[in-house]
Amino acid sequence: MNVVLPGDSLPIENDASASISIGPGIYKSPQTQEIIPSSAGIINIKDTKQNTNRLIYIDSNSKRYIPQTNDFVIGIITGVFGENYKVQLQDFSQSVQLSMMAFPNASRKNRPNLKVGQAVYARVSQAIPEIDVELECIDATTGKEGGFGLLDESGYIFSVNLNFSRELLFNQNSPILEKLASRCKFEIAIGINGKIWIKCGDGIPIQKEGSSSNGNEEEDNKQQSKDSSKNYVYDLKCTLAATRYIQSCQHLKSEEIDAELKKLFNF
């Protein structure tokens, strides 16, 4: 593990032949064009195969999310203005905008129907610090939904540290979610702003508005709900256990994960 602190010099030679791409945690002074580490963390230096480009970034933990282009995030809709939704990515952070046109098949006549308080999974399409950040709920390459859009209320949203959410989303070899999959069936959306939406089984039942029933139907429904209520309780237990499991994985060594999983799914 190679740790750097602000003020240290970066462990790179002054090699003019390779161009350098800088990532998070590295700051380039606009006056001197010098690059310095600006946060404390694990330094990563990656060279491309032809040694033409070099990537440098510092991986560090934090709780406050700063939007970057192409990040996948979970946001809560807090308001509507004009043709935009106001979306909150984190408490007390500046809210970002989500255009009503940034949905698949959206047009002026066919607007998405989202309400204040609902959660969406979206991609950051523009993140310039000086101006408002913009999101979109559309896969830019195909123009289709691509997994973005409304996250319904049958799931559960909780927060984790930012470095952990990056680990879950980007590390293909991470055993954490694979091990969870051996215990229950789940659907997950990981926002790199430290928010995770999870739904085990069918999740929490959503009460449909205005679904009135009468006579025979009602009896049928009663029978049905008796059978399914057991499932709902089980799914709910699974969802909460999975939440606790993911949250405690933040502080566990990889060999302690199995024991934790066993302990939490003991019902």
């Binding site: 003020g7 406050r64 000086e130 470095n163 933040q250």
Partner: protein, 228 residues
């Protein structure tokens, strides 16, 4: 520094640290970058809100003075251009202190300021706020008619001393580089002052290499516990 600091002890803020330096216990928290109020917002820079709270009683002019000193230090150390239009909130809460409100005015300009600076460093690192460099500070006093120093003086030693100083250096490549803040009180000669600065730069390097680096490496190891 007598005790190792603990970081991430508050759950509702973005970064926090607690430090015990002799009789002074201080808790620092950092929240940000967050949405600034319209009157605080600066179009190209992050604005800083610094609040100092005393161990007992309500805050007074002494806390305002400390806030001012800390602001001048933090303004030059935080990469404020990285967070335009945002707000960074820093709260320093003293938990215990040897300075009695009435009796000892000396303690807060030396020991309390010194503890606050050293503690806020860890809180900023914990909040992952971009910094130009690391920094450390020392508090020392000069005894009458001598060139000898006492580092981290107690209240009794401060009262006996002729002058006391808080000197904060930025650390580049494990070496003390530039002076970020000097706060001196009492009478002293030029020679004494230069000696004090010399002494302080050595001590700042020790603090950084012995305590700060060690503590941060431990913290990062804990943050990425699943990797190791």
């Amino acid at each position: 520094m007598s005790a190792t600091p603990s970081t991430s002890i508050l759950s509702q803020v973005d970064g926090s640290a607690q430090l015990l330096l002799g009789p002074i216990k201080v808790l620092a928290s950092v929240t940000g970058p967050i949405e600034a109020k319209a009157r605080q917002e600066l179009p190209t820079l992050a604005s800083l809100e610094i609040i100092v709270r005393p161990a007992t009683g309500v805050s007074s002019t002494r806390e305002k003075l400390l806030e001012d000193k800390l602001r001048s230090l933090l303004q030059s150390i935080i990469v404020r251009h990285k967070y335009p239009r945002q707000l960074i909130q820093v709260v320093i809460q003293f938990l215990s202190s040897d300075s009695d409100h009435s009796a000892n005015a000396k303690a807060f300009t030396s020991n309390e300021l010194n503890a606050a600076i050293n503690c806020v460093y860890f809180a900023l690192i914990d909040a992952n706020i971009a910094l130009f460099s690391s920094f450390a500070s020392v508090s020392l006093c000069i005894l009458p008619s001598s060139d000898s120093f006492i580092l981290n003086p107690t209240i009794a030693q401060l009262n006996e001393s002729e002058s006391h100083h808080v000197i904060c250096f930025d650390i580049k490549d494990k070496q003390a580089d530039k002076i970020l803040l000097v706060e001196s009180q009492g009478s002293f000669s030029e020679k004494q002052f230069y000696l004090a600065i010399d002494e302080a730069s050595k001590e700042c390097e020790t603090i950084h290499n012995k305590y700060q680096r060690h503590c941060i490496v431990e913290k990062i190891r804990e943050d990425f516990v699943w990797k190791f």
